[in-house]
Symmetry: C2
């Protein structure tokens, strides 16, 4: 594999979330010549989506996605409707900032429930309830399969195959209004990975997220590694993505409470650039 | 679901490993009228397999399995051969204690490697290298799919489908010398679970391990829960196992550094019995 185009590097604001507002993150990207950004909704909420759009535009950034919609399962109808309403607002925000897609972290079991099949039905129904609005706004919905260790509390769509089955069900076999965000952290272990990336193809591959799996991993959520510090063969997975027609950006999203979140944003971004060039 | 037959409860020695030798574990089982045991090899190593067999027999216990073979990937030929040799010894030990099967924890990436595909080939080759000896000893090989969070360092056979593909490849579609151990902790999240249990059927279903997934889980390895304390619908999975023809025992295997491992073995076993009756 040749090194990736540096112009494809993008920053997910989760990577610098303890140090930066959206404006600070966007300005750091411009300083480091990083061309894309994926904000989380908490950063938008601080300033409003219109102001966020202006900041992003002023810094010359593409928006690879908006994180995140989802979290559909809830114990009662009222809770499920509240989740749908919130997702409809997320679609509007994604449209306002001209995001490539709305990233969906589907949600885990409903509070107090052990019914994972039922939770998956709530997710399907929730996605179905926002689908028309998203399509009419021109906002593709990108389901991000979650690592199975998050099935209980964050997302019980756990494989690319499962996410693509949902896309086929809700969007039709040939649709392009729903697809997937492939985060190497969540899917690197999957024996079906190459085959399902090929199945997804250009239309369904809406995002590519980078970090690394550390050995040992000391926290289920907040101990993700910088690319190159773990065991994921990122360049191999990139080759599969490109082979399947993905031409989008490579978005760095690192949850790292005790390491990268403590560092200065410019130092983090410089490291991202170097690692993107050398190990991705 | 009606409550399970209490006579089917078995103890995996990992559940009491900080408090009990094999003799102490076996005697605790007899006191609590638990009829089956699955020892780990470290407990056998302390006394030898023949003495272990005697202790188990004296306490009237069935042996649901021997934990564990596997850990096949290694960086060089010498390391891989050493793993195979060790697995051949494990087969002999399993035969000596008349274990229902040798449980295989396949192993993760070879030291220093990011090649998960290569590791999976080493696992296939390693299993192939012990297969004839195991069959001639009458010891079925039971692959235990590991939760994907163990793919790097413990086992990169991560789904029941993947394990069953290996069985079909090495043992033939209709063989019964190789099968799977289904641990609810490792597989509860799998959207294919019911279908793959059905596919496995009576001949391939060689073990059924119980514990629970806690929310939150504070350690990737050593924070497993007692049945009923987490979110796994164990009785539903048992119904699938029984529907597919499984008639074996229900083996409790709990890695719990800060909770169950600290308690007195009889207290742990009493709790296992109660929970087996009420939530499994």
């Amino acid at each position: 594999m040749s090194a990736p185009d540096p112009g494809l590097l993008a920053l997910n604001t989760a990577t610098v979330r303890e140090k930066c507002t959206l404006r600070q993150a966007a300005e750091a990207c411009r300083r480091q010549n990083i061309r894309g950004i994926c904000p989380w909704r908490d950063k938008l909420a601080e300033i409003g989506a219109k102001e966020a759009a202006r900041i992003i535009r002023d810094n010359g950034l593409k928006v690879t996605g908006l994180c995140r919609g989802g979290f559909f399962p809830a114990p009662d109808r009222k809770g499920r409707q509240a989740a749908i309403d919130d997702n409809l607002r997320a679609v509007d925000e994604a449209a306002t900032i001209e995001a490539r897609c709305l990233v969906i972290v589907a949600g885990g079991l409903a509070q107090g429930s052990k019914d994972i099949g039922g939770a998956r039905e709530m997710i399907r129904d929730g996605l179905g309830a926002i689908f028309d609005h998203a399509r009419s706004c021109g906002v593709p919905i990108a389901i991000e399969p979650m690592h199975p260790m998050y099935a209980a509390d964050r997302g019980c769509i756990n494989t690319l195959a499962q996410a693509l089955d949902l896309c086929d069900e809700l969007d039709g076999k040939n649709g392009s209004a729903m697809g997937v965000a492939v985060d190497v952290y969540h899917v690197w272990w999957d024996p079906e990975l190459k085959r399902q990336i090929e199945r997804a193809g250009e239309k369904r591959l809406m995002g590519f997220h980078l970090c690394d799996w550390l050995v040992p991993t000391t926290d289920l959520l907040l101990d993700r590694g910088m690319m190159g510090d773990g065991v994921i063969d990122i360049s191999l997975i990139r080759s599969w993505m490109e082979g399947a027609g993905y031409h989008g950006m490579h978005e760095v999203e690192i949850f790292s409470k005790n390491n990268w979140w403590k560092k200065d944003a410019d130092e983090v971004l410089l490291t991202c650039k170097m690692r993107h060039e050398t190990v991705c």
